[in-house]
Symmetry: C2
């Protein structure tokens, strides 16, 4: 990314059959037991370094509520990075780096995010990701595919209703059997 | 594969959002215009060599009808390899290497395919692939993901209703931006 450029990346973890959550919201399926010999491993410090490049997280209200719920067991997943929650509801603010926004996504991006940030990650949910793709607000997709078929749940891409060409930027396979597909969205 | 072993591989080409066909059955979306610098290319002769290792194709009746339709413009896609079409309908036989089977998948596999073949590829459609996964008849999945979001169409994995662990066997990215994910189905 060149200095000064602004980018919104949609990041999702999904099963091979495209589900990002189970119906009961349980998350144990993230811990797959696969081993892919040719895959890479990433150290904790490297992950921390990488996460520091993210300026701001954007999420929908249910993703936020789910993250709050999970934080009771695992801690808050998004650190001290500013986090914008799109919602029309009144929700508890449990951390000082969380802001709520009740306007439309285009206004959020153009009037707020572009003024303050460069590297924004949209981390869910599926509806919000779809809105951003439909509105041509998202620049990249990083989809991490776990080695499992869930068979049921909340689909990431659920008949988005729009044909969209992509450019493959990179593919990374991990020792855990997870594969990350990184695409640029050809919005022009 | 060790000599004498029998294996059924499900092979599908899908969009990133998991569709294997458009509603109008058009196939021009297979010809994506992406270029992935780090990807590999495979020569025609290499593809031919690879295809020779396949002993038998299995497909459903609509996939067969679609292949017949496409063969008028592009030729028959499955060469002279024996092809078994699972159907209860009466369909035209336009090539001598095509057989019809109207029994259930388990009988087909145990009483027929296992007797004659070793490396069987199931090439569609989605319903048949799901039946084979549910019945634990499939051993591997090779899913080729094209760099496009279709937004609509026939989904490959459509709420299969069964959780199934996978083992990542290999990942191959092509110059065309297509990524092939190759999994073993952990049936035991």
């Amino acid at each position: 990314m060149t200095a000064g450029s602004f980018k919104i990346t949609i990041h999702m973890v999904a099963s091979l059959d495209g589900f990002i959550a189970k119906k009961d919201n349980s998350v144990s399926w993230f811990e797959t037991t696969d081993h892919y010999e040719k895959g890479i491993t990433v150290s904790g410090p490297d992950i921390q370094e990488f996460l520091k490049t993210i300026d701001c997280y954007v999420m929908g209200s249910r993703t936020y509520e789910h993250a709050l719920e999970l934080s009771k067991s695992y801690g808050w997943a998004y650190g001290d990075i500013p986090t914008m929650v799109l919602t029309h509801r009144t929700l508890p603010i449990e951390r000082s780096n969380i802001e709520f926004y009740s306007g439309d996504p285009e206004k959020l991006v153009n009037e707020l995010l572009k003024q303050k940030y460069r590297n924004v990650w949209l981390v869910g949910g599926a509806d919000l990701a779809k809105d951003f793709i439909r509105l041509k607000l998202a620049d990249e997709i990083r989809l991490s595919i776990l080695p499992i078929i869930l068979g049921n749940g909340l689909p990431f891409f659920d008949h988005i209703g729009l044909e969209q060409a992509l450019h493959l930027k990179d593919v990374t396979a991990y020792k855990s059997g997870m594969v990350e597909l990184w695409y640029e969205i050809k919005n022009s």
